[in-house]
Amino acid sequence: MDLKPSATAVSMNAVPPYGHVIINAKWRGSTLVQNFKGRVKTIFEDELGVVDLHLSNRSCVLYVSESDLVAGNDYKRKIVRFRNSNSKLSGIVIVEKTCLSEQYFSGLQKFVVLELGLTLLPVASPAEAAQLIEQMVHGESKESPFRKKSMSRLLDPVVLNLVQKIPGVGKVKAMALLKKFCSIYEISNASVKELEPVVGQAAAQQIWGFFHNQFS
């Protein structure tokens, strides 16, 4: 693979095939990789810059271990370098949140999620990280069940419902109003005189008042 020199923070052309991750060569032989147990296939690469793993769907992982978190600020520099690279990759920070590193977590969350707008996912151990990464890799081919569905709904029942929210208007009067005036806009702009033959005098006053009474 033709990668840019190591001076760049993020490699833009690291796109692993499905079921694979491209992983920074420094992870060779690590507990994380051992825990993949072949369920995630790994391609080792030297020139990934600050990124630890590339997943296939244009997202990548920056790994912050327990000792990184306790030791200090290097991980922050790494995350900021990633952020400043403007790589268009979505960055996921996986952090080992343990008894030892727990006290640093809330500061890290504020920094990563609220200030930088990246994703932060805590795990308790490299084994948990491996399981989470496995789910991310295997979910890539599936449409997320949490995506919004574009719903093109019929407006007729919505409008009928709206008319029935006018005080004093039930289903019968709502139907009569829509038969005569067709839309909310036209009902709203009808005079009491125009409303009276449709719904009677009292309701006509009430409907007109609902639309025209000033709130202040």
Binding site: L121, K165, S183, F215
Partner: protein, 230 residues
């Protein structure tokens, strides 16, 4: 522990809380008001737990509820409807509470839990992890402050009175309208007719919503019903 009272130097933020959260989230509401100086209104938000800005909704669940596959359908439905209604959706996962005297149970992550996390991330939901009610309140206040800096903070009164109450129920029936949009409609238009007769531009600016949402509302207000189809 000793609680630090935040100096009211930071401007006050407004947060809406769903009435269903009151039994389990009373501590959050108190902490938001007393510690973080937030204006909090409890009301029926129906499809989300908190609204922290004109465009951001927050769903709040315990770790064990999220890990329970029986809640899968409900979670999917709620997140999908939030995604359709709000530009930004956050998800706060709160650590389960242990009662005093109970042994500390460590949470076991299942494949289901991890696949849910992965799917939420893929859908662009912002995940936040909370250690407990105090932490959840701090995160909500923080989110509201971030939105304030971005010019999206809730800027209308959280309460409605008198004839505005009927108008609110009417507005909430419109498509694409969230509780916060309906509140803006109540406070930024003099009457229901003022809103109904507004131009598309006036609607978009008055309610702080995207063009496409404004278009959908406008279309509904002007839509000619065929009563023979109902």
């Amino acid at each position: 522990g000793v609680s630090i009272i935040r100096a009211p130097a930071s401007p006050c933020v407004s947060i809406l809380v769903d009435s269903h959260c009151i039994s389990s989230g009373a501590e959050i509401v108190s902490s938001l008001r007393l510690k973080h100086g937030a204006a909090v209104q409890v009301c029926s938000l129906v499809n989300c737990d908190f609204i922290v800005s004109n465009r951001m909704a927050v769903e709040w669940q315990s770790e064990s509820d999220m890990a329970n596959p029986q809640n899968r359908k409900r979670l999917q439905d709620r997140i999908q409807s939030l995604q359709a209604l709000f530009d930004r959706v956050c998800f706060i996962v709160e650590k389960d509470r242990t009662k005093p005297g109970e042994p500390l149970q460590s949470f076991q992550r299942s494949r289901y839990y991890d696949s849910t996390v992965a799917a939420l991330v893929r859908a662009g939901i912002r995940l936040l992890v909370s250690q407990g009610p105090e932490d959840t309140a701090a995160l909500l206040a923080e989110l509201a402050h971030v939105e304030l800096r971005k010019g999206q903070a809730i800027c209308v009164p959280l309460e409605v009175k008198g004839p505005q109450l009927q108008a609110l129920q009417f507005y909430l029936t419109l498509p694409c309208v969230t509780y916060i949009s309906a509140l803006c409609m109540c406070h930024r238009f003099n009457s229901v007719n003022h809103l109904v007769s507004s131009s598309l531009d006036a609607l978009q600016a008055g309610v702080f919503i995207s063009r496409s949402r404004a278009e959908e509302i406008y279309r509904c207000l002007h839509y000619s019903c065929d009563t023979t189809l109902i």
